[in-house]
Amino acid sequence: MAGRMLDAGLDLLDRQILDSNDTPVGKVDDLEFTLDDYGRAVVTSLLLGPLVLGPRLGGHLGAWVVGIGRRLRPDGDPEPARISIDDVREFGSTVKLRIPVEDTGTQALETWLRTKIVLRLPGATHEAQ
């Protein structure tokens, strides 16, 4: 997707991210820019999660979101979840990835809740309806 011009605020932020099987991954909560050789800011990653969403919201609300996000990190990793722009297949009304959700490294809370709570309840793997 290199070199395409998009309005980052309008065309990227807060869009739904879907994986290669159209499974929801999360929202584009923030963007990571890197300066290229010509000194231009280029989007290199999509950032996900309350740790990056909070600062964007600002104020008490933002601090609160970050606080909750910290407590909900099962692995204690201080880095926000990150998806490289190279893994993006398509920008549209949703952002579609080339890779499956398991390979994005963004699902720490989902995995933790799955193994600690949901899979322990009877019938958690019954057929999708």
Partner: protein
């Protein structure tokens, strides 16, 4: 033939599904206190929910994106989060009210105190949400809810003076001894009961989950256009029953048992049994919808996997939110707080919170980039804008009226 059956079932489901604890309480209470003088609000409310549900269903079908996904994209992350907080809170109150309603219906049937039923009902709710198919849930509770049609039979059996009822409804005036603020406060309660936001969260999420196409759009429109008005007729008959039996004696309705009393007077034990079944089905069905809506709103804001089309293990965060919300609502219902009072607050606050979801849907329904040729027609927009105005006025007036009337005292 199969299609016809689908449409018929859908319409029947919509009638049963239209009425929940809010409608039961609001219609019966206003009927007893104000006669038919607030019947016009039910009509205004049902046209409103038809416009809103049709737009939300169309937006979800065409864009394949449910309400809160679009709310965040349209309003921005911050405003949408505040919106999420308010919507989630109102939905939570509604869930607690429905939970109390189911337990009260069981108390009326068994004489076992409702507080003992609350945890059992909550557990049953979770089992149904966890194990049943979407369509099965909708149909079973919608169809059982048709038992509420007993109110129409009861009204006919009570043999009221139809022309007086009709003229009271068509020439609304504030009954003697009641103030205008109280009258308008209960008008808002009725409006909120007819236009509860969770109906729209549930409807639009269902459309996305069941992967509706434009072909399904016709079926859903028929359900909405026929089922909801018939549901409103049911609401009006509850109001009329109450107006006939209670108003002449100045009796106020403040228990769910009183809501069904006109039916047992008119139809005896069998009628009462049918009505209790209807109470149970209508409130249980609504409790399912509000539980799932709690998960929908949060999961859709944060972009998580949600719903019943994936295995529960694939939507762990969604199911955890549903489970925790259900726990908290059970706690509130068990706090011995009066379920009828919780219901009153939940419908009034629903009315106040309506613009939060109505406005973004109206904007997206007019966005050609999303909707293509399925954008709102001029006619739809005309009505939708009138309702935007009504909803805004109601929203602004709610809290002052609540304070001025001490919540309708």
């Amino acid at each position: 033939m199969k299609r016809l059956l689908g449409v018929t079932l859908g319409i029947l489901t919509a009638i049963g599904g239209f009425v929940d604890i809010g409608d039961l309480v609001a219609n019966s209470l206003t009927g007893a206190r104000f006669g038919m003088s607030l019947a016009w609000v039910v009509i205004v409310g049902v046209i409103g929910i038809i416009v809103f549900a049709e737009m939300a269903g169309r937006v979800a079908t065409v864009s394949q994106r449910p309400v809160f996904d679009l709310v965040r994209e349209r309003l921005g992350a911050r405003t949408a989060l505040v919106n999420l907080g308010a919507s989630f809170f109102v939905n939570f109150l509604t869930l607690a009210a429905e939970l109390g309603g189911v337990a009260l219906a069981l108390q009326l049937a068994t004489s076992v105190n409702y507080l003992l039923w609350v945890p059992i009902v909550a557990f049953l709710l979770w089992v149904v949400i966890w194990h049943w198919k979407f369509e099965t849930m909708e149909r079973v509770y919608g169809l059982l809810g048709l038992a509420l049609l007993g109110f129409i039979v009861a009204l006919w059996k009570l043999g009221p003076d139809w022309s007086t009822l009709f003229s009271n409804a068509t020439h609304p005036s504030v009954p003697h001894g009641e103030g205008h603020p109280t009258w308008f406060y209960y008008a808002i309660a009725l409006f909120g009961a007819a236009m509860t936001p969770y109906e729209v969260f549930f409807f639009s999420s269902g459309a996305v989950e069941e992967k509706w196409t434009t072909k399904d759009l016709m079926t859903s429109r028929l359900n909405v256009y026929i089922g909801f008005p018939l549901g409103a007729v049911l609401s009006l008959s509850i109001m009329a029953c109450s107006a006939v039996v209670f108003q002449p004696h100045g009796i106020q309705v403040d228990h769910l048992g009183q809501v069904g009393l006109p039916v047992s007077i008119a139809l005896g034990k069998l009628g009462l049994a049918a009505i209790l079944l209807g109470f149970f089905a209508a409130t249980f069905g609504a409790a399912i919808e509000t539980s799932m809506s709690a998960g929908y709103t949060i999961a859709q804001y944060f972009g998580w996997a949600w719903g019943k089309l994936v295995r529960p293990a694939q939507a762990a965060r969604y199911h955890t939110v549903v489970l925790l919300t259900l726990f908290a609502a059970t706690g509130l219902a068990l706090s011995t707080i009066d379920p009828v009072k919780v219901t009153e607050y939940s419908i009034v606050l629903s009315a106040a919170a309506l613009p939060l979801t109505y406005f973004p849907i109206l904007v997206v329904a007019n966005d050609r980039q999303f909707m293509g040729s399925h954008v709102n027609s001029k006619f739809t927009n005309g009505i939708a804008l009138i309702y935007l105005l009504i909803i805004l006025v109601v929203s602004v007036a709610t809290i002052p009226l609540m304070l001025a009337t001490k919540a309708g005292m």
